[in-house]
């Protein structure tokens, strides 16, 4: 009598399958072409409309050229860059751009956070209506918005002007003709539009947070303000950071149409921003070289900020599962 060891069933066959599997892996190494064909149109458009102009802008920044197709391009070395940094208007445009960004951070991050938190207390249909009302301004085109606000701010019979004058005895006069008035008016108009976007994104971000966390915290004895500070806001931080990133990168663009329609950067450059300045250099002064230099510099600065914020948001990101 002796023991026999029970063999592992079918082990030999497993080995054979594994060996065949290896071969299969080798055969698969050749990448299929179909997926690349699907994204080809998008890539082609991106290259043609974004990357090609970007490279051309960079090239142009080393030439003098007045945009006339018949005029020759003169090599300029770095002179466009030195001219740009000595431009008196650049300083004003940069300061204004920073002011705009700071103000819009309030309109598209802080206020939406507050509004989204408050709208949680409204329930059912009323909440939908309330959120829709906040969002609608975002859907109105900037030029139409500008036209309506110009009418509201009309120095003789604009509703805002009349109400302030008759109701509160404050005469704001012709808003778009005063330095601070014009800047504040543009901030209000663009902020009013961006608020809806911010609330929408913030509400979506909040909806993605399981209510279990807040409930667990409240059973653990946390007050509403503790839950907000220690749970809700930290869990919302990816959303908050995303909105901040969008605001910083895009607020100069969002402001551009309002400046163009309402003030043309005036009075005396009080409302200009970097993109409006860029437009003026290129299409008022017909200085393609300097505009190219400005475009290159703005691209690098915003690019650096974007990389920084994306890195930060990767660090803050958590995975809720």
């Amino acid at each position: 009598m002796s023991f026999t060891i029970t063999p592992v069933p079918g082990q030999e066959r497993y080995e054979r399958i594994a060996r065949e599997g290896e071969a299969a892996v080798r055969r698969w190494r050749k990448p299929p072409i179909a997926p690349y064909l699907f994204i080809l149109p998008a890539i082609a458009l991106l290259v043609f409309w974004i990357y090609r102009p970007l490279i051309e802008t960079f090239q142009l920044s080393f030439y003098h050229w007045n945009l006339l197709p018949t005029a020759p391009k003169q090599p300029a070395g770095l002179s466009n860059y030195t001219a740009l940094f000595h431009d008196r208007e650049l300083g004003k445009a940069v300061i204004n751009t920073i002011l705009y960004i700071a103000a819009f951070l309030v309109c598209s991050v802080i206020l939406p956070l507050v509004i989204a938190l408050m709208s949680r207390r409204v329930s059912g249909r009323a909440r939908t209506i309330y959120q829709a009302l906040v969002f609608v301004p975002f859907l109105v085109t900037p030029v139409a918005t500008s036209a309506v606000w110009r009418w509201l701010f009309d120095p003789y019979d604009g509703v805002i002007v009349v109400v302030l004058r008759k109701g509160f005895g404050i005469d704001i006069g012709s808003v778009f003709r005063s330095d601070h008035g014009a800047l504040i008016a543009i901030i209000i108009i663009v902020g009013w539009q961006m608020l809806g976007f911010g609330v929408l994104v913030m509400t979506a971000g909040m909806a993605g947070i399981s209510p279990d966390y807040a409930e667990a915290a409240s059973v653990d004895g946390a007050s509403n303000s503790t839950i907000l500070r220690r749970i809700t806001v930290p869990l919302l931080s990816p959303t908050i950071l995303f909105l901040a990133l969008m605001t910083i990168l895009l607020s100069a663009q969002w402001t551009y149409p309002m400046i163009d329609v309402l003030t043309q950067g005036g009075p005396d450059n009080a409302t200009t921003n970097i993109y409006y300045l860029l437009y003026e250099i290129a299409f008022n002064n017909f200085d393609a070289g300097m505009a190219g230099a400005a475009g290159t510099v703005f691209f690098l600065v915003f690019g650096a900020i974007a990389v920084l914020l994306v890195k930060l948001s990767d660090k803050l990101a958590f995975y809720d599962n």
Binding site: Y213, V219, S223, Y319
Partner: protein, 370 residues
């Protein structure tokens, strides 16, 4: 540690009454399991106890104090959520410390209690991980740990084991039972798993459609189910339930079901429609001739559970389930005869679905009713 009293508690969602007029007293140190099928209102009831949901009507008292409208944060309860609800942005250590931070416990004590809970649950090596870096079982431990760091009036748990695999579930069941013994605290535990209920509970509350079907120890619930629902819900395989009737003949109460009549016990009783119940393991081959209820059918299917086997017997249009040891040789298609002793026969009133108990001297009111 605390006693929880629930009086006439009701939760009405728009057109659905999730919890319907429930009265329940949970004694200090009880391990009460709320057991019922999914959708029967267990979570709703637990959330009302926790203070996360305002009852439509009724009262909740903890140690005699009316807490019905007290917010969750003031009730001093600890809860383990089915999803565990571990704060995803905080490490295990900070998750465990969260309730203590809220209580403003001193730094040394906080450290001590967090480490104590971590040691008790084997989490010491995981303190710096984030919840997403943990396995299901580890998350479940952290969730329990977060309840343990405090000294709450009671521990509430909502299906805490439902996301674990079978083996881990068995181990964790034992650990939770040991925890209950060690803390001698009040536990209210929600589950749809009868094994969890049978193994851990000191008291099982069986819910169905927002109402209590039965409150009892695991033995009471298994040995004397108070209704057809309980009989069919507790036990695996569930109790055999056959529709039939009671009548009297020759001074004996007799039951008719599946076309055959059997003698139960001496006595008299008027004609009555009943559901006759008996457990699969009480259907014995050796009682084939002597049993109060007798089965004569054909084996339709056999399940081998390893330690025992379950046979499905076709008797006419009905299927009866029998459970017996592996030493008995059963063959599909063969004839199967077996019987159940009178002591193992359960009778339920068909009209109300409630259990009928045979008492030697029937109360006049009951005799009239039948």
């Amino acid at each position: 540690m605390s006693r929880i009293e629930i009086v006439g508690l009701t939760q009405q969602f728009k057109d659905h009454r999730a919890v319907d007029n429930i009265d329940l007293t949970i004694e200090d140190g009880d391990f009460v399991v709320l057991l019922g099928p999914s959708g029967c209102g267990k979570t709703t009831l637990l959330r009302m106890i926790a203070g996360l949901l305002d009852p439509t009507s009724g009262q909740i008292l903890i140690d005699g104090q009316d807490v019905t409208h007290l917010p969750a944060k003031k009730r001093n309860l600890a809860m383990v959520f089915q999803s565990y609800a571990l704060y995803p942005h905080l490490s295990v250590e900070k998750n465990l410390a969260f309730p203590l931070n809220v209580l403003k416990v001193s730094k040394e004590e906080k450290r001590e209690r967090v480490l104590g809970a971590a040691r008790a649950l084997g989490l010491e090596s995981l303190l710096h991980r984030k919840p997403r870096e943990l396995s299901g079982g580890q998350r479940q431990r952290v969730a329990v740990g977060r309840a343990l760091v405090r000294e709450p009036s009671a521990y509430l748990m909502d299906e805490p084991l439902s996301n674990l695999d079978a083996k881990l579930r068995t181990n964790t069941r034992q650990e939770l039972s040991e925890l209950h013994d060690r803390l001698s605290a009040t536990f209210v535990y929600v589950t749809h798993d009868q094994v969890e209920a049978m193994t851990m509970a000191t008291k099982i509350v069986i819910l169905n459609g927002g109402r209590i079907e039965q409150i009892g120890t695991p033995e009471q619930v298994y040995d004397a189910p108070a209704s057809i629902f309980v009989a069919g819900f507790v036990g695996s395989p569930p109790m055999n339930l056959l529709e039939g009737s009671l009548s009297t003949r020759d001074g004996h109460v007799q039951a008719t079901a599946l076309g055959s009549t059997s003698r139960l016990w001496p006595g008299t009783c008027p004609e009555h429609k009943v559901t006759i119940g008996f457990r699969a393991e009480h259907l014995r081959l050796e009682e084939a001739e002597t049993g109060a209820v007798r089965i004569d059918g054909v084996i339709h299917q056999i399940e081998n559970l390893g330690g025992e086997q379950v046979a499905y017997i076709k008797v006419g249009d009905h299927t009866v389930v029998a459970k017996c040891g592996r030493e008995v040789t059963l063959e599909r298609g063969e004839r199967f005869t077996a019987g159940v002793r009178a002591a193992n026969v359960h009778l339920f009133d068909q009209a109300t679905g409630r259990r009928m108990e045979w008492v030697e001297e029937p109360a006049p009111a009951l005799a009239d009713a039948l």
